[in-house]
């Protein structure tokens, strides 16, 4: 087993989520009925035997700290290793398109300095997949690469700002583009490199630390041996509202669901204590993921229903994502809608969104 340390960029903001990320980083966006996006990289690391994980946290850290705490649920509340909070820089992240800003790592350099791991796994938060980083590390070591970028063959990644890789037959990454033209290898915001090289990057680029690590890698493709690791499992992309909606719907595909939530590499999240979901005799539910603590009296189709949601009699919820503790009153209809937490949909309200541009109901909003 390779000994690795991890870094998760959980600080970046996005303006492609509108009010969904007004008061939270992308990392703490609720997803999949009971998770937050950060649960996926965290669980991937822990399930791959990585128990020293640095979490780059945003200025708006409350939601993520509330959720992750000291990492207890992920077995990261430890005496040796464990979870390290790495506060990210504060300057206008929203305007910057980067996810792996060098300055965030620079600022937390002691985390890298004080460790004795050879390899560092770095992951973003807005792509959803279940991976064994041990496999990646083995290929990385076997290939002798300086850096191994993880990618998925797809030209429909849906994201607004993806990186597509040209990968040669020997696995080497020869070029990168920001559109799938000529290449359908979508970079998954996850890569492995040696700790030494990362420390070198920090010294070399200290003066231009506003750069993104991936930009630095692309810039150095000719000097470095950058290899690609092809991931063949499911990758969901939650990089914008439309992507988030599509990716949520994909969870209703039993095969995707089974692959993402496989019992041998479980996605771990904060434990909440809710009673089982209660279905009333009149409930009508099909093709849906429903979480504990819900009370379902109405109709639900093709939807993801989070913990503690109440759907009253004769209410209809279709092609929707309804987050925690929202109440949908009787005779209202929601189609192609994303409801944030604690929203209230009054009786008889009808919201019809477009599948590609769902209607958003903000946190605590009363409609």
């Amino acid at each position: 087993m390779k000994r690795m340390m991890g870094i998760i960029a959980a600080n970046y903001q996005s303006d492609s989520f509108a009010q969904l990320t007004k008061d939270r980083p992308v990392a703490s966006l609720p997803f999949g009925g009971r998770y937050r996006l950060v649960d996926f990289p965290l669980s991937n690391m822990v399930n791959s035997g990585i128990f020293t994980v640095g979490l780059i946290t945003p200025y708006m850290y409350r939601s993520i700290m509330d959720h992750v705490g000291v990492g207890k649920e992920w077995a990261l509340s430890r005496k040796v290793g464990g979870m390290f909070i790495l506060p990210g820089s504060i300057y206008g992240l929203k305007n910057v398109q980067g996810k792996f800003l060098l300055r965030d790592i620079l600022r937390n350099r002691p985390y890298l300095d004080r460790s004795n791991f050879d390899l560092v796994v770095i992951s973003g938060c807005s792509k959803v997949f279940n991976i064994d980083f041990q496999d990646v590390a083995e290929q990385h070591t076997a290939s002798g690469a300086d850096i191994t970028l993880i990618y998925k063959k797809t030209d429909a990644a849906c994201g607004t700002k993806e990186l597509y890789l040209d990968v040669a037959e020997n696995g080497e990454v020869t070029a990168a583009h920001d559109a799938p033209i000529g290449a359908d290898n979508c970079f998954m915001d996850a890569f492995i490199m040696s700790r030494d090289l990362l420390l070198k990057f920090i010294s070399w680029y200290e003066e231009t630390s506003y750069l993104d690590l991936t930009d630095i890698i692309v810039e150095n493709l000719s000097h470095l041996y950058v290899s690609g690791y092809e991931f063949t499992g499911y990758m969901g992309n939650a990089d914008s509202v439309a992507c988030y909606m599509r990716c949520s719907q994909e969870l209703l595909n039993p095969e995707v669901n089974r692959e993402l939530f496989r019992p041998d590499r479980p996605i771990i999240t904060k434990i909440q204590d809710s009673p089982p979901a209660k279905y009333w005799p009149a409930a009508s539910v099909r093709n849906a993921l429903v979480s504990s603590g819900c009370i379902i009296k109405g109709t639900v189709e093709n939807s993801i229903i989070f913990r503690g949601v109440t759907i009253e009699e004769h209410a209809v919820v279709r092609n929707a994502v309804v987050m925690q503790n929202t109440v949908i009153h009787r005779e209202s209809i929601l189609e192609n809608v994303i409801c944030d937490k604690y929203a209230v949909i009054r009786p008889g309200v009808k919201l019809f969104g477009n599948p590609d541009a769902p209607i958003l109901v903000g946190k605590g909003q009363d409609v």
Partner: protein, 378 residues
């Protein structure tokens, strides 16, 4: 450490043989109830909700699952340095090992443990009833009376009184008479098996009970009658909420079916007097294109492709396409395969109802399949 006003001792050592195959591999308090709970959750949650932060859990029969479930008590906010949950199995000493010979003996063998907290009062609980109770109100009543012992009682129908320990009390609720399962009950005030003792008194009484060879070392049969004979201050505390036995297959089944009505008497959705439990992390349950769920409680991790009516599905249950589950309780990890039928049944943890099989009870008798067992078609 501050002296404890009151600590609780929870009797969880019994096999619960009246639950049949459900307790083949675990003690009764560890049996799953209401989808995501185990029977012991109700007593532990009552303790926490009553401000009692120190609980000794007396285990004996197959305690492995119970021990793993309770852990440090974190799930019930009971992992506190100044108290918390302690699992108290019978111990081996210089003179050999000694199993608990009865409820009173179980407490007797743990006198040192109790003394280490130097409590004023000790609350004795047994873990096989479904109820929500604020023990602090009972403790206040006990203290107000300066009682040596206070027994929580509930009015039961006269025709059922003979199944309980029943007591007669004067106008101050001081108990004048106590009869364990009398054939001709003189009262319909039944003991709920919940006692608060002054610890000094209990320690003395247990010691003399221990030395009495004729005693069966039981609270109901020996300790309480002895205290009444000696004219101790024994009071009855009247409780009037929901209180149901879950110690037999029928009562276990009926109490759970009671959770399914629209406004159940025992409400697990209530925010005050919450019921806490220690749960695994499963994804939300999935109801497929062919799934139907009505009038049921469903836990996380389930996959439902068939029809589920008036039933309770614990975590990680699978119901295949074309299967029917009606008026049944499916324990964690149970599988009902394609086209199978499960009616008025309890299906144990990890048990499997094979393709097309029919596992059905009748009005008279609930069908029960033990943990890990398999029922095949034909």
């Amino acid at each position: 450490m501050r002296k404890k006003e009151c600590l609780a001792m929870l009797l969880a050592g019994g096999q619960g043989s009246r639950l049949g195959v459900l307790t083949k591999k675990k003690a009764k308090p560890a049996v799953v109830f209401g989808g995501k709970y185990r029977i012991i959750d109700f007593s532990l949650s009552n303790c926490v909700n009553s401000g009692i932060d120190t609980v000794g859990v007396l285990t004996q029969y197959k305690p492995l699952i119970l021990n793993a479930y309770i852990g440090t008590g974190e799930a019930w906010d009971l992992d506190v340095a100044s108290g918390g949950v302690h699992l108290l199995a019978p111990a081996y000493t210089e003179t050999g090992g000694s199993w608990y010979k009865g409820t009173a003996d179980a407490i007797y063998q743990n006198i040192d443990f109790i003394d280490s907290y130097d409590p004023e009062h000790v609350l004795i609980l047994s873990g096989d009833h479904l109820y929500k109770m604020d023990y602090s109100a009972m403790l206040a009543f006990h203290k107000k009376n300066g009682a040596d012992l206070t027994i929580s009682v509930i009015e039961v129908p006269w025709e059922e009184a003979g199944r309980f320990g029943v007591m007669s009390a004067d106008e101050n609720m001081r108990i004048t008479e106590f009869a364990e399962k009398p054939s001709k009950p003189k009262s319909n005030l039944a003991s709920m098996g919940i006692y608060i003792f002054k610890w000094d008194m209990l320690r003395r009484v247990l010691t003399s009970d221990h030395n009495d060879d004729a005693s069966e070392k039981d609270f109901g049969k020996d300790v309480i009658p002895a205290m009444l004979r000696r004219k101790r201050q024994v009071f009855a505390y009247r409780f009037s909420g929901y209180w149901k036995d879950v110690g037999t297959i029928d009562s276990y089944y009926e109490a759970q079916m009671g959770l399914l009505v629209e406004e159940p008497d025992f409400n697990i959705f209530e925010r005050d007097m919450r019921v806490f439990s220690n749960s695994n992390i499963y994804p939300p349950h999935y109801i497929g294109l062919t799934g139907v769920v009505k009038g049921s409680l469903i836990c996380n991790g389930c996959t439902i492709l068939g029809e589920v009516r008036r039933s309770i599905l614990s975590s990680d249950v699978y119901v295949g396409a074309g299967a029917l589950v009606d008026a049944s309780i499916l324990l964690p990890g149970a599988r009902v395969e394609e086209g199978a039928q499960v009616v008025r049944a309890i299906v144990g943890e990890g048990a499997v109802i094979g393709k097309g099989a029919c596992f059905c009870g009748g009005t008279a008798k609930i069908a029960v399949l033990g943990d890990g067992e398999r029922c095949q078609a034909g």
